[in-house]
Amino acid sequence: MLEIENLHVKIQDEKQGTKSILRGVNLTIKPGEVHAIMGPNGSGKSTLANVLAGREDYQVTAGSVFWQQHDLLSLSPEDRAARGVFLAFQYPTEIPGVNNMYFLRTALNSLRKRQQLPPLDAADFLVLVKNKMKTVGLNESFLHRALNEGFSGGEKKRNEVLQMLMLEPELLILDETDSGLDIDALQMVGQSVNSLRNSTRSILVVTHYQRLLDYIRPDAVHVMSRGQIIKSGDEQLARELESKGYSWIENEIAI
């Protein structure tokens, strides 16, 4: 279970000094649930996703995040990953010189080691990864390329989903994985996430569009605005947002 309570986060901006981004976020995702967060640009959705994964640029000034009863904020990014946290990045970093396959195998075996599992040997790994590459629609040649280097936007997203399928996280956070994807790719993301859905995993989907939620049907939908969750509901809320826009809710709250 993921429990976010009254989370306040600031960022040190070179020009504007300290800027408050999250201003009291409360969110609980139970095992087996899929929650979606929607909201306009700059509302703090990506910040929330990155804070959960452990990016250091952010300053948590108040509040707490517990994941499976552990204080998530006290853990390093690699320790969070070892506890099953996975963020599919909105803008995956290009890392020249680091081979994609070598990276994936190192990551997988590093997590397996923490779980006291034996490392996967090269042959077993190859069978596994080739299988998953078919699922996400990446050609095998991508294994031998540098991590994300020169990948198109869509290829980067597919590579994120590939990592997700390989590492089988317990807390899965998708940060606008659907943006910039064509319909086929969108369907692939939906199917891949659904294949991981079970009674223990928690999934948080950050998105601008209702489209992805046609494939990944959420148990709850939250609207974020100016660093707070201002409205929650079921998947019907996502449809209303799609037709009426965010200003509808923002106006409603203001009233």
Partner: protein, 429 residues
């Protein structure tokens, strides 16, 4: 103003040992440079080419001429593990034939000590020895001048036209003693269409606080191919000087990769002369400084002296702690060298706020129809990349290693011979 020259060095120059063992033509030059250096003294920081070098390290110990010594080295530990090679060993800078694979040298090739070459291949030796005019350059290169005054021996390689060695030549310099000064001098001649894959390696299992001062001359005739990889892993108290000159004839290609890890003070000068159309040279290098007060200095100079010549220079460095590195890449395109293509790049990662890198591109272009570009960067570890790797469960230190390996990856890819490539990767990792 001249820097104070330590007494042992003054003594070495006045003795001018080379003049006693070499015939007049060479001995005259030796005396000339000994006298010149004694009179001029060592360069100070006012000399642009020595601006960042603190040569006071030379005075730290009194050094004496090196000897082969008795060696109970298990040389097999140093061999290339992944393929056959012809191993040639120098101990404390002196050629050790009993440790070398002389029996594996094919009969058509000449590979011998310079002293033996003086007896048996005098014509070849004198025909290819740098003449007085070229030696004038040595005024800017005091350690090459010192080598000229003090060298006794070294290696002589001659591959006749069309000769190709079937396995790489492994030139291994091992230092086992302390407080010696060694001045090996090598001459490599590749005949027309001859082909050589060479790895030169400096290791110091037990030696320390010594001076290794090597001068190497390569002459490539038409369409010759040279693949030359150097690994400098001297003892951390050692001083390492290397002066390498390459002369390339028509359509000859040379590829150089340098890996510098060891020594307290290292200065590596490479001077490439693309003398005829179609000649090409790739130089690449990786330096990694791991200690406080470690200093590694590369001065690479490429002269395009004829039309349709190409060069590529790509050096990368990683600096830890309070280390300092210098990179100076000089590109000279002469008036007649039209259609020259030349690239130069130097990229550095500083892993400590106290590390210092001085990088300087120098392009001097006298022709008007050329393509030349250069670039230099100094940066730190990419924090976004580090976070990305860690967020996938890779441990922080492993992630750093991965990024550092990734940074230098293209330099390692320059090593064409797979056995040498593996060997270098194992030694540098």
């Amino acid at each position: 103003m001249t820097a104070v020259m330590p007494l042992w060095l003054q003594k070495e120059l006045s003795e001018c040992a080379a003049a006693r063992v070499w015939p007049a033509q060479i001995a005259d030059l030796s005396r000339h440079y000994a006298a010149h250096l004694l009179q001029q003294g060592l360069p100070t920081r006012k000399n642009e080419r020595w601006k960042y070098s603190d040569l006071s390290c030379l005075a730290k110990h009194e050094l004496t001429a090196s000897t082969l010594g008795t060696s109970d080295l298990n040389i097999d530990n140093y061999r290339l593990q992944h393929a056959a090679s012809i191993l040639l060993v120098l101990v404390n800078g002196c050629f050790a034939p009993q440790l070398s694979d002389l029996h594996r040298i094919p009969p058509q090739a000449v590979i011998t000590s310079l002293q033996t070459a003086k007896q048996e291949h005098a014509d070849l030796l004198h025909q290819h020895w740098p003449d007085q005019k070229e030696h004038l350059l040595y005024q800017d290169h005091p350690f090459a001048a010192l080598n000229a005054a003090a060298f006794i021996d070294g290696l002589f390689l001659y591959l006749p036209d069309h000769c190709q060695l079937s396995s790489p030549l492994h030139l291994l310099s091992i230092s086992t003693d302390a407080f010696f000064a060694a001045h090996p001098r090598h001459l490599f001649i590749l005949g027309k269409q001859a082909k050589l894959s060479l790895i030169e390696e400096y290791q110091a299992p037990s030696g320390k606080s010594y001076l290794m001062n090597t001068v190497t001359n390569f002459i490539l005739k038409d369409e010759a191919r040279l693949d030359y990889c150097k690994l400098q892993n001297e003892h951390r108290d050692a001083l390492h000087f290397a002066h390498t000159t390459l002369k390339l004839a028509h359509d000859s290609h040379a590829s150089l990769s340098n890996f510098s890890l060891g020594s307290r003070f290292a200065r590596d000068d490479v001077m490439v002369h693309l003398q005829a159309p179609g000649s090409q040279c790739k130089t690449s290098g990786f330096y990694r400084l791991n200690h406080d007060d470690q200093y590694i200095d590369h001065h690479i100079s490429i002269s395009h002296e004829a039309a349709h010549t190409q060069s590529d220079m790509n050096y990368k460095g990683i600096l830890h702690h309070k280390s300092r590195a210098v990179f100076n890449g000089r590109l000279h395109v002469s008036k007649d060298a039209q259609k020259t293509v030349a690239h130069q790049a130097n990229h550095n990662l500083l892993l400590s706020p106290q590390a210092e890198i001085y990088t300087k591109p120098e392009l001097e272009i006298h022709a008007d129809d050329v393509k030349c570009k250069h670039g230099a960067t100094i940066g730190q570890l990419d924090q976004d990349a580090l976070f990305y790797l860690c967020s996938r469960g890779i441990l922080h230190n492993d992630a750093i290693d991965m990024l550092l390996q990734g940074f230098a990856d293209d330099i390692f890819q320059q090593i064409a011979d797979p056995a040498i490539n593996k060997h270098i990767k194992e030694k540098v990792a």
